[in-house]
C-alpha cells in the first residue's frame, strides 16, 4: 500500500474531516486502489507531450471570453433558499474563527 495512514489523516485534515481509525483504514485502501488504477497511465511515454488539463486547446483568444455585460441576478430570497439558516439578508453559519 502506497497510501499511508498519515497521508489519509493529512488530506482529511485539509478537508476538515474527522475520521475514525476504521474510516482511515477503509478510505486509505480505496484511495490506494484508485491511484493504482490511474497509475497504469504511467506505462505510456508522455515525455514529449505537454501537460493538458483542458480539451479546449487555446486557438484564438476571444472564443471563450464574454463581454463585460450585466445579467440579471437572483432575487435575495431565491439566493438564500438553499441555506440551512439565514437572516437579515445573509447566510448564517456557525461562528467562524480563522484557522
Amino acid at each position: 500500500m502506497r497510501i499511508t495512514d498519515k497521508d489519509v489523516s493529512y488530506v482529511a485534515d485539509l478537508a476538515h474531516l474527522d475520521l475514525t481509525a476504521e474510516e482511515r483504514a477503509r478510505f486509505g485502501a480505496q484511495l490506494d486502489s484508485i491511484l493504482g488504477y490511474v497509475e497504469q497511465l504511467n506505462e505510456l511515454d508522455t515525455s514529449s507531450v505537454a501537460p493538458m488539463a483542458q480539451v479546449l486547446t487555446a486557438q484564438r483568444e476571444n472564443e471563450t471570453l464574454r463581454e463585460d455585460k450585466l445579467r440579471p441576478c437572483l432575487p435575495v430570497d431565491v439566493a438564500l433558499a438553499n441555506a440551512p439558516e439565514s437572516g437579515a439578508g445573509h447566510f448564517k453559519v456557525p461562528k467562524v474563527i480563522e484557522r
Binding site: Q54, L56, E61, L65, A79, G87, F91, P94, K95, V96
Partner: protein, 483 residues
C-alpha cells in the same frame, strides 16, 4: 532601536490585491457595484452552486494586461487558471479561481524615489483571480454564535501584484504602494479605494544581519488597510522580529494580523501546514490566450504615466520636481493644471494658483478637483484678468473665493462688484495727494533719503482704494509727487 537597525536589515515584499473596474464579475454577469443590499448581486456561478460554469470577463483580462504592461511586465501569450482549495464560509465554491504556475504576466518593475536616488522594485508577477464574499462577525443579535455571509463580492475580478523582496524599510514600502496606486489610478484599471477594499495589501517581512545574504524567516502581515497602517504595522513587525532575535529566539513562519486598536501584529492561530491549497488546473476554463495584436491594442490605450508626466512638466514648464510632483499627484489635478495653463497662457501663474488657492480651498471644502466649483477655464479667465492688469493680485484672491463660493465667472464678479483696478491717473492723483497731505512724517523721512518709506505710502493708497489701485501706477505717481 536605531542602533539595532544598524545591525539588522529589514526585507519587505508586498502582495497587493486590486479590484478591477469592471461592470460585471470575473466569471458571471452579476454586478460588482459596492454597497448594494447583501446577497442581491449573486447567481448560481458566484454562489458556487453545483453545475454552474464560469466564463471569463474579457474586460477583466484587458485591465489586467493594461496594468501588467504599465508595470513593465512580460505578458504571457498563454496563461492558465487553477483552483486554490480552502474552506471558509465566504468562499462558496470551496476554491478560489486563481492563476498559479502560469500567471498572466511576470518580470516587471517600477522605480521609486525614497530619499533621493531612484530605486527599482521588481514585480514578480501579476495574476488574475476572483474574490471571496464577506463575512460579518459582529453587529447582529446572535453574533456571539453566528457569522453572517454576504456573497455580493464573491467572484469580483482581482489582479494580484506580487513584488520581489526588494524593499528595505517601511518608507520604501509606503513609497512603492503610493507609486503603484498612482499608476493604477492613471490607468483607470481600479478605483484603488482602500476603505471599500478595492486595494488591499499584505506584506512579507523578515530581518537579517546587515551584510548577510540569506533571507531571514518571514512573517506575512495582513490587514494593512491604509497607508498609515502599512507603515505602523511594518515598523512594529520589524522591531518585534529584531527583539525576538536579540533575545536569542527564532522567527516562525506565520501569518500575523495588524490590530489597529492594540497597535501591534498578532499571530493567527494556524496549523503547521495550513498553506497547502492543493492547486490543480481549473478544468472549467480554457487556457487564456493574449496574442500579440490584442496585447499591442491594449498597450496603445495606456495614457502618459505619472513619472513621464512629471518629467515633461519639469522640462516644458520649467517647474521644480516638488511642484511637478504635486501637480501630477492625480490625473485630474494634472489635467486641471494643463487646462488652466493653456487658457490663461501663463503656466507659472496657473501652477501657483492650482497648488495654492485651488487645492487649498478644495481641501477646506472637502471636495475633489473633479467637483471644483471653479473650472480650469474659469481659473484661466481670472488669471488673464490679473495678468492684463485689469485687477490686482489681491483682488484676484478675493474674486477667486467668490467664484469658489458661487460658481460665477471672474468677469461677472469683477463687473458686479466694481473691482476693476483703478489705473485712471486723474482719479489716483487725487488720492495720492490726500495721502501725502495726511502723512507729513513719512513724506519728511522720504525727502530725508529714507526712500523705502514709499512702501507705507503705497499701502495707504491701496487701503483708500480698497485694494483696487494699480500698485505700479501708484508707485510712479507717488514718486513724481514727492520729487
Amino acid at each position: 532601536m536605531t542602533a539595532l537597525l544598524e545591525k539588522y536589515e529589514p526585507v519587505i515584499g508586498l502582495e497587493v490585491h486590486v479590484q478591477l473596474l469592471t461592470q460585471s464579475k470575473a466569471f458571471c454577469g452579476c454586478s460588482t457595484r459596492f454597497g448594494a443590499p447583501p446577497n442581491s448581486q449573486t447567481c448560481p456561478v458566484c454562489l458556487g452552486l453545483p453545475g454552474a460554469l464560469p466564463v471569463l470577463n474579457r474586460r477583466a483580462v484587458e485591465l489586467g494586461v493594461k496594468a501588467s504592461l504599465a508595470l513593465n511586465c512580460e505578458v504571457r501569450g498563454v496563461s492558465g487558471f487553477a483552483r486554490k482549495n480552502y474552506f471558509y464560509p465566504d468562499l462558496p465554491k470551496g476554491y478560489q479561481i486563481s492563476q498559479y504556475d502560469q500567471p498572466l504576466a511576470e518580470h516587471g518593475w517600477i522605480d521609486i524615489r525614497e530619499g533621493g536616488a531612484p530605486k527599482r522594485i521588481g514585480i514578480t508577477r501579476l495574476h488574475l483571480e476572483d474574490d471571496a464574499g464577506k463575512s460579518v462577525h459582529d453587529g447582529f443579535g446572535d453574533s456571539a454564535k453566528r457569522s453572517y455571509v454576504d456573497l455580493n463580492r464573491s467572484g469580483t475580478p482581482l489582479a494580484e501584484i506580487v513584488t520581489e523582496p526588494d524593499m528595505r524599510g517601511s518608507n520604501e514600502a509606503h513609497e512603492f504602494l503610493t507609486r503603484l496606486k498612482e499608476i493604477l489610478l492613471y490607468l483607470e484599471v481600479s478605483d484603488c479605494n482602500m476603505e471599500e477594499g478595492s486595494l488591499r495589501c499584505d506584506a512579507n517581512v523578515s530581518v537579517r544581519l546587515r551584510g548577510a545574504e540569506k533571507l531571514g524567516t518571514k512573517a506575512e502581515v495582513k490587514n494593512l488597510n491604509s497607508f498609515r497602517f502599512l507603515k505602523q504595522a511594518l515598523d512594529y513587525e520589524i522591531d518585534r522580529q529584531i527583539a525576538v532575535l536579540e533575545s536569542g529566539g527564532t522567527i516562525h513562519q506565520e501569518t500575523r494580523l495588524w490590530n489597529t486598536a492594540e497597535q501591534r501584529t498578532i499571530g493567527m492561530r494556524s496549523k503547521e501546514q495550513a498553506h497547502d491549497y492543493r492547486y490543480f488546473p481549473e478544468p472549467d476554463l480554457a487556457p487564456l490566450v493574449v496574442g500579440d495584436a490584442w496585447r499591442e491594442e491594449i498597450r496603445a490605450t495606456i495614457p502618459e504615466l505619472p513619472e513621464a508626466r512629471r518629467a515633461r512638466f519639469i522640462a516644458s514648464y520649467g517647474m521644480t520636481e516638488y511642484n511637478a510632483g504635486v501637480l501630477t499627484s492625480s490625473k485630474a489635478i494634472a489635467h486641471y493644471f494643463e487646462e488652466a495653463a493653456k487658457s490663461s497662457g501663463d503656466a507659472r501663474a496657473a501652477a501657483n494658483w492650482v497648488m495654492g488657492d485651488v487645492l487649498g480651498q478644495l481641501n477646506t471644502a472637502g471636495k475633489t478637483i473633479e467637483a471644483s466649483p471653479v473650472s480650469a477655464p474659469a481659473l484661466g479667465e481670472l488669471l488673464k484678468l490679473q495678468s492684463s492688469g485689469a485687477i490686482s493680485g489681491k483682488i484676484a484672491k478675493h474674486v477667486f473665493l467668490k467664484m469658489f463660493e458661487t460658481g460665477r465667472g471672474a468677469r461677472e464678479i469683477v463687473d458686479s462688484e466694481s473691482l476693476a483696478q483703478i489705473s485712471d491717473t486723474a482719479a489716483l492723483e487725487k488720492i495720492v495727494a490726500e495721502v501725502i497731505a495726511a502723512s507729513p512724517k513719512q513724506v519728511e523721512q522720504y525727502k530725508g533719503g529714507k526712500t523705502t518709506v514709499i512702501g507705507f505710502l503705497v499701502g495707504q493708497v491701496m487701503k483708500a482704494t480698497r485694494g483696487q489701485a494699480n500698485p505700479a501706477a501708484v508707485n510712479e505717481l507717488l514718486r513724481k509727487a514727492l520729487e
